[in-house]
């Protein structure tokens, strides 16, 4: 080895130090990052780290009133599940209910009160004090001036004590303008039940124990009334009773989720389902299946609707009608129900009456497996009369545009989105001098108001609820906050109570409570002392604790039918059973069927990303709107999936991509409701179309409800193409062993 000279030595030292430096650096880079261990300053009472706490409360995503259990960890809500002791959903929950967490933690929630700077200007954040003082002063002045009636409160379908609070507040303010508006509220169903059975509530449809469900459009597994409860019942009907497997028949022009699950799907001509029901009734009577004393009246009422006469109008063969009628009788107890698109035409009430008459003729009333009348829940006042029909809303519109409304308070409802353009509601709304919105999200209506009071979501609020439709016995559920409000928001009850104190006068006397919790407790104390005078609880506190713990009062009882038969003899002679449509068949060859989306309901769910990402059950489409077309129609018009289609009604037009849907009548096109928001947060905004926009303002005269299935349209290609975003590839089994045991498939 030769000697290393100085120069080389320095080189080696240099290399060594470079290596050392790299080594130190490498060690530093690969070191785990320092994490902090942050203790709590003062631990909450029932806090234990890493252990989940479950709170029982009530779902606020739709009007079914399911009970939910929310799993929380370290003060954050993690998961919503059904409350197992709740009689409506019995531990189960639909997709919408579970997506409630998206509403709670939605990035687009309004985080503080907002005030509009100038008409048409932008919003500025203000403090709660300022917001409530401004509003309180305004309302107080109106009250003092005796113009209390110029205040209108338009709410969503709240129930229970919040409803009572609203009513009291408005009453004390001197206003009788307290309305509730929900697009999907079945006005016609209530009306028909009132006519037929003289009841104010919905009856209990005992799908669980029936043998045969003859559903006219009622998508009871998807959107109709109380889908979770009916799904439970459906499961039981199919496989829960040993060998007795119930049969489901669905009569509707476009296959809904329920239609997909039914044994038979029968596409009658839209609007003629009532006729079909009459024909079935005719068969029941002519085949001598009904032996009541009033048989002659019935015979004369339905006499002219023989299957042969109706067959042509309904597009259903005579033998088919006879078969359905015989099946319906043979499988007793059977159930005939009507809803959704069938109950939203111009003949909605007539249709429902005819369909309900089948239950009467088959003797299915107040029977296990038939229609059971709910006991009237007498806990808090019944509310359905507050639900505004379309005509009522038009009344409000007129009042607004003629300056009879000085202050409009909108609570959690979105009429600008849910009313057709032809209603001119939006234009009227802008004429109201002072508009206030109580909402968690910047929806289309909130975007137009002068003062925005951000609400807690239902997971941060106190309240109670009475499920509607009921479950055959009296029950009520509690709504309690499961997390502390994550933003500077307040619950509607707290806001109203604070306002009451702000306004002063008689209001604090009538509403002495300062927060919703106290108000609720006081109300439940009444229930306790009035209703539950039994020895199960020693004190109200114990009862209240139990109610909060289980989330529901009246749990796990069996259904006790109200045996009193209230059925009135119905004069089916007088009903107008033939449907009317806006636009004549020649110019507008297609019937437009907007349908309530299972994922977004009436549009409320569109801002929840989990629902946007939930493939539509029938089409698997996500994140968009689409127009459903029969393959034959599409072929005739040369339309392919994804072609952008222009849909033109008398009232306007919209453009959306086509989806070739096998199970829809060739003379019908269907568009889901729910998308097409112009506001409402990043997940909903500018996505798809809102078919409500192009609906004609025609109503069902009997119920005054908007006939939203009675608009005719024409369609044309625009030449553009949008790739529909869907998850399903090929939706045929191609003879593969997917639904059968091996060897059996072709």
């Amino acid at each position: 080895m030769t000697n290393i000279n100085r120069r080389d030595f320095l080189k080696l030292i240099g290399a060594g130090s470079v290596g050392t430096g790299a080594g130190v650096l490498y060690g530093e880079v690969t070191k785990q990052t320092v994490e902090l261990l942050i203790p709590q300053v003062i631990p909450p009472e029932d806090y234990s780290p890493g252990i989940a706490t479950w709170y029982n409360t009530t779902c606020g995503q739709c009007s079914a009133g399911c009970g939910i259990s929310v799993r929380t960890r370290e003060g954050r809500a993690k998961k919503i599940e059904g409350n197992p002791v709740h009689p409506v959903n019995q531990g189960r929950l639909c997709s919408m209910g579970q997506a409630g967490l998206n509403a709670l933690y939605n990035p687009d929630r309004i985080r503080r009160p907002l005030k509009r700077n100038a008409p048409g200007g932008s919003f500025t954040p203000i403090s709660w004090d300022e917001a409530l003082t401004t509003l309180g002063r305004r309302l107080g002045n109106l009250k003092i001036q005796g113009k209390g009636n110029q205040v209108t409160l338009l709410s969503d379908g709240v129930r229970g004590h919040l409803d009572k609070l609203f009513a009291t507040f408005m009453q004390e303010l001197g206003s009788d303008n307290y309305l509730q508006y929900d697009f999907a509220f079945p006005n016609a169903l209530y009306k028909a039940n009132k006519i037929l059975f003289d009841i104010d509530t919905l009856p209990y449809y005992d799908i669980k124990n029936t043998n045969y469900v003859l559903s006219f459009g009622a998508d009871y597994l998807g959107t109709w009334l109380s889908p979770v409860h009916y799904s439970l019942a459906y499961g039981h009907l199919r496989q829960g009773r040993g060998k007795r497997r119930g049969k489901c028949v669905q009569i509707e022009p476009r296959m809904s989720l329920t239609g997909a699950n039914a044994d038979e799907w029968i596409p009658a001509k839209p609007g003629t389902e009532g006729l079909l029901a009459m024909a079935i009734a005719n068969v029941i009577i002519s085949d001598d299946h009904y032996r009541g004393s009033d048989i002659d009246d019935w015979a004369s009422a339905v006499g002219s609707y023989s299957p042969s006469a109706v067959s042509g109008q309904t597009d259903i063969t005579e033998s088919e009608i006879k078969r359905i009628a015989n099946d319906f009788i043979r499988h007793r107890p059977a159930l005939a129900i009507a809803g959704d698109n069938i109950a939203s035409g111009t003949n909605a009430v007539s249709n429902i009456l005819a369909i309900n008459a089948l239950n009467y003729l088959a003797g299915n009333l107040n029977k296990e497996g038939g229609v059971i009348f709910n006991k009237k829940p007498s806990l808090v006042q019944s509310t359905q009369q507050r639900h505004a029909s379309y005509i009522d809303m038009m009344g409000l519109r007129d009042a607004m545009s003629t300056g009879q409304v000085d202050t409009l308070i909108v609570h959690n409802t979105n009429p600008v989105f849910n009313l057709p353009n032809s209603s001119r509601f939006k234009e009227a709304l802008t004429k109201v001098p002072y508009k206030v919105s109580l909402s968690s999200f910047m929806d289309e209506t909130t975007d137009l108001v002068d003062l925005v009071l951000p609400l807690n979501t239902y997971l941060e609020s106190w309240g109670d609820d009475i499920p509607e439709p009921g479950v055959g016995f009296t029950t009520a559920t509690v709504l309690q906050p499961v997390v502390t409000p994550i933003y500077d928001t307040r619950s509607s009850g707290d806001i109203i109570l604070t306002l009451a104190h702000q306004i002063g006068g008689e209001l604090p006397v009538a509403l002495p409570w300062t927060n919703m919790e106290d108000y609720l407790k006081a109300g439940w104390k009444e229930i306790y002392s009035g209703q539950i005078a039994n020895s199960a609880f020693n004190s109200f506190d114990q009862f209240w604790r139990k109610a909060l713990e289980s989330g529901v009062w009246g749990e796990n009882k069996t259904c006790v039918p109200d045996r009193k038969n209230k059925t009135k003899q119905v004069q089916l002679n007088n009903i107008t059973i033939a449907p009317e449509f806006s636009g004549d068949e020649k110019d507008f060859p297609f019937t437009l069927l907007p349908y309530i989306s299972q994922t977004f309901f009436d549009g409320k769910g569109a801002n929840l990303p989990w629902l946007q990402e939930l493939p539509d059950p029938m089409t698997s489409i996500v994140y968009n709107s689409w127009i459903e077309l029969n393959p034959a129609t599409a072929k005739k018009l040369g339309i392919k999936e994804g072609d952008l289609i222009n849909v033109q009604s008398k009232e306007g037009s919209l453009q959306a991509p086509a989806f070739i849907f096998p199970a829809i009548r060739p003379d019908v096109i269907a568009i889901p409701i729910g998308q097409g928001h112009t506001q409402y947060g990043r997940y909903a905004k500018n996505r798809g179309v809102n078919p409500i926009n192009i609906l004609e303002s025609i109503v069902d005269d009997a119920s005054n409800a908007l006939a939203w299935s009675s608009t005719r349209v024409k369609i044309s290609k625009t030449g553009k193409h949008i790739d529909l975003v869907k998850t399903s590839g090929v939706t045929r089994t191609l003879g593969r062993q997917i639904f059968d045991k091996p060897g059996k498939h072709s």
């Binding site: 590839g729 090929v730 191609l734 003879g735």
Partner: protein, 443 residues
Amino acid sequence: MTDTNYQEPGYADVNRDILQTLLVTGPKYWITFGISASVALICFFGPWAYQLYVGVGAAGMNRSAMWGTYLSNFIFWIGLSHSGTLLSAVLHITHSGWRKAIYRSAEAMTLFSLMTAACFVMVHVGRLWFVHWTAPIPNPMELWPNFRSPLMFDVMAVTTYLTASSIFIYMGSVPDYAAVRDASTGLRRRLYTIFSFGWRGTAKEWHTLSWAYMFFAVFVIPLAVSVHSIVSWDFALSIVPGLHQTIFAPYFVCGAIYSGTAGIVSVMFLLRKYMQLERYIREIHLDNLGKLLIVLSLIWTYINIVEVFTGWYSGTSFEYEFLKFRLFGFYAPLYWEMILFCAVVPLFMLHKKIRTSWKWMFIISILINIGMFTERFIIVATSLPRKFLPDAFGFYFPSFVEIMISIGSFAIFTTLFLIFIKWTPCVSIYEVKETLKPLRRDA
């Protein structure tokens, strides 16, 4: 011999002619090198860095086709690698003299296409930073690779193949390194002294080298067959229709040799043209390779027909759907292009004039490799989106990143090859001498 003007070079000419390819570097070389290196950098490493940053989502793969062009590129390059080693080894042990002028560049192709293929493994995986877990290295987690996995077969086979073919090509070059050493001075001389192990050409050295070389050849042949069989098993050991085929191993091996041989023709054409090696790479080589290509093309066509026939005749929905998609679906033009380039075009080589024309053979060889590249793409892109559940049927189209990386891989190969020809004589000096007139008085 068609070439009547051919003048056989002397021993010294061989040394001079071949060493000049290595020792004399003109601006043309540097321009080519510069272009190919920058294309490699921009098209391969640039997009790859982007992909590493955002995730494999930068590629066009999706739920229905979890594998894409990266895998088809991998197979293509592995396939191309079968040219050299296999051809060289088979011809070596069968004592085919014509191999001697071309085998060095063929082996170089093997080595560098293998390296390119290995790059694609790196590009393909989702978490490159953990890819060392596939190597059986002792680790504190006590976790070892899963040797039941066909991918581990791959890891072992490709590693072995890379090692074996590097050794194979290196050992075959030792006497040539000595020639470079003798013809150079300074740093290059010192380096080549090391490379050549101090080779003198003694009888002992020649004897040991030839024995060792024979063993290498014997090892490499079953290895090469196993490597592409194993690559095919990455697919065939699944149960996916279109991939789960008994015939896949021979199909892949045959296809590999086919594309590799075509690759040699292309490389030979370019070397001959740009490295002034007309005296060494001659029509006889072209003629022989042409004949080989025809045979391989026929075998390949046969296997393709068998694949379609069995799929169709079996009558199962699984086979039928994917075949329908392959033959008549979106990628049908590619399929028929493949058939045209790989089954029809080679038939022109039956004509001797075409078979011995450099221009025609170059075009045909390029077409064959385009066809073979398509074949690999089609295997991935038409089978995976048509698996078992029709609802999950999908579609695959390569993304910009994937296309760029695919283009870049050719540049990587070219760059490596360009480095190689300046490092090792691209025609074996001593073996070419063996084909010449011996240095005897009586010759």
